[in-house]
């Protein structure tokens, strides 16, 4: 694609993203779903740094997400610290957790890395459930209500949340795109394509992977705070969930186009609404039917093009150009 066309498309997409909520009911269901689309796109983008650029299939990103959600919320509940400030220690804790988990999993490949990270997420869920004094345990934790406003990160209707989620997505996407074109991005690609060759021409593979993991984990934790402020209530089984967080963010990035800058956005725009639709359509039918339909749809996409929707789009574009 020509750069001019690319920038025009980006500007158009941004204009649409800014305009859309004004055409929707501010407290409505549609705006709420769009907030989740933006949030999950940002989460999948943060995952994409490890899962896409470093090609390490993490299934434990809920760990960092939950750490961020609990971090800022506990600081708010216990000490009245604004979530905007609580965001920072939460992100630091997410980064440190990512660093700690990357040390032992560093040399694991493929399935083993996926399993080890999966287990880490589960450990965090158990810790949060057990350590009730700090987290409120299995009964969950609520964000205390205060007078709405930007300073306290609470609003009456959905529109401000929408724009904050959009801002978060833009920031995470800018970081992702920046990494891709930086030394770190080149090094991650080198490690992904040939680790021994990368090491032999001077890439410190250990350090490079740790930096990627820390950035990814910290961003994921930051988004945990956004989720907490958006939902007002959550428990360990939600924020540390394997299917609802860890697997879902990986799935969004993979279905959209793993390792690409817009893949996670495309993936979230596709998956989140369809999942909602499936839930609504089949909720009065047999239990689990919506998940079944949703799962089948994922299988169809991945069978059609393992590189995801973006690649299907590219193929259609080329095909259209030819006829």
């Amino acid at each position: 694609m020509k750069p001019a066309l690319k920038y025009a498309l980006i500007a158009l997409a941004l204009a649409v993203a800014v305009a859309v909520p004004f055409g929707l009911e501010p407290r409505g269901y549609a705006t709420r779903i769009l907030c989740l689309v933006l949030l999950f796109a940002a989460m999948a983008q943060a995952w994409n740094i490890v899962g896409g650029l470093a090609n390490q299939m993490s299934l434990g990103h809920a760990a960092f997400f939950g750490i961020g959600a609990y971090g800022s919320t506990i600081l708010l509940v216990k000490y009245g610290i604004s979530p905007w400030l609580g965001l920072l220690p939460g992100m630091a804790a997410g980064g440190v957790a990512a660093w700690l988990i990357s040390l032992p999993t560093m040399r694991l490949r493929g399935h083993y890395f996926a399993l080890a990270t999966l287990a880490f997420g589960e450990v965090m869920r158990l810790v949060a459930n057990t350590w009730g004094g700090l987290t409120g345990g299995p009964s969950g934790i609520s964000v205390p209500f205060s007078k709405p406003g930007l300073a306290v990160f609470q609003f009456k209707d959905m529109r401000p949340y929408y724009f904050l989620m959009l801002a978060a997505l833009l920031v995470v996407t800018a970081i992702f795109a920046g990494i891709r074109h930086s030394k770190l991005g080149y090094r991650l690609r080198a490690i992904r394509e040939n680790p021994s060759a990368a090491e032999a021409i001077g890439v410190d593979t250990t350090r490079t992977k740790i930096i990627a993991a820390v950035v990814s984990g910290a961003l994921m934790a930051g988004l945990g705070t956004f989720y907490a402020q958006f939902q007002f209530f959550f428990d360990p089984d939600t924020v540390f969930s394997i299917p609802a967080i860890s697997v879902r963010v990986a799935m969004i990035a993979i279905v959209g186009g793993v390792g690409t800058t817009i893949g996670p956005i495309v993936g979230a725009l596709f998956l989140i609404p369809i999942e909602e639709l499936a839930n609504q359509t089949f909720s009065d039918q047999a239990a689990g039917l919506s998940q079944l339909v949703f799962g089948l749809l994922l299988i169809v996409v991945i069978l059609a093009e393992p590189r995801g929707l973006l690649e299907i789009g590219r193929r259609l574009w080329r095909w259209r150009g030819r006829t």
Binding site: K183, E193, S196, E199, G202, V203, D204
Partner: protein, 239 residues
């Protein structure tokens, strides 16, 4: 004159197999050393051990007087020694330019590395395919890209493992001319090559390995008339 690279008593064992057995050699700055020996002699193993991809079982490796045995490959690369891979190890999904550029990141920013990468590609005569995907290249082209990538790390000593394999005559002459230019520019080279005429014409000295053991070292003329070498290597390939 102090040696640039001092290899002392290097041995490497793979389980029951003694792949390298007490190798000793000292390589001078600006020298072109040829490393020859029959298949399985341990040439690639020696290279991998020198750059840290394998740890030596015993022995010492000093680069400019500094002990590097057991260091990680990226530290050895930044100390100034890199190798190319016999089976060619490129980043196949990346462009030729990006492959070479990644070598330059060892000492430079992305934009500096890009300029240096173009220069290195010009040196090996591949400027016109800079934007091709590495995976789409022919084998000889890949080998030259790998040489350019190694050069882009700005090494003091470069180990080439059969980089000339599959080159035709004209290409080989060009490649030998490149190696001479690099040497004249101050680079030290160790080359593994099965093509005898090429290696005899370019090397100052040859080191001969057989079953992991160093059986001879000397000028090409000395090696050509060494009875142990004729027996172990030239004799066998002539038969």
């Amino acid at each position: 004159m102090t040696a640039l690279l001092q290899i002392s008593n290097i041995s490497k064992r793979f389980g029951g197999l003694q792949a390298l057995n007490d190798v000793n050699v000292s390589i001078a700055r600006g020298e072109i050393l040829g490393l020859i020996g029959p298949n399985g002699a341990g040439k690639t193993t020696l290279f991998s051990t020198l750059v840290g991809l394998l740890k030596p079982s015993t022995g010492s490796i000093r680069l400019e007087g500094r002990e590097i045995a057991g260091m990680k490959p990226h530290r050895i690369a930044s100390a100034g020694m890199v190798k190319t891979f016999q089976n060619v190890a490129l980043f196949l999904d990346s462009s030729v330019l990006d492959n070479v550029l990644t070598g330059g990141l060892l000492r430079h920013s992305v934009s500096e590395a890009r300029a240096l990468a173009r220069h290195c590609l010009a040196q090996v005569g591949l400027s016109d395919i800079a934007d091709k995907r590495a995976g789409d290249l022919s084998f000889p082209e890949r080998a030259r890209v790998e040489v350019a990538r190694a050069l882009c790390t700005e090494p003091r000593i470069l180990l080439l493992d059969e980089a000339m394999a599959a080159l035709n005559h004209a290409e080989m002459d060009e490649f030998l001319a490149l190696l001479r230019r690099l040497r004249d520019g101050g680079l030290t080279l160790v080359i593994v090559e099965h093509h005898m005429k090429a290696i005899m014409s370019i090397c100052d000295r040859l080191l001969v390995l057989n079953f992991g053991r160093q059986i001879a070292i000397g000028t090409p003329a000395e090696i050509a008339r060494d009875p142990a070498v004729i027996e172990a290597y030239l004799g066998r390939s002539a038969a």
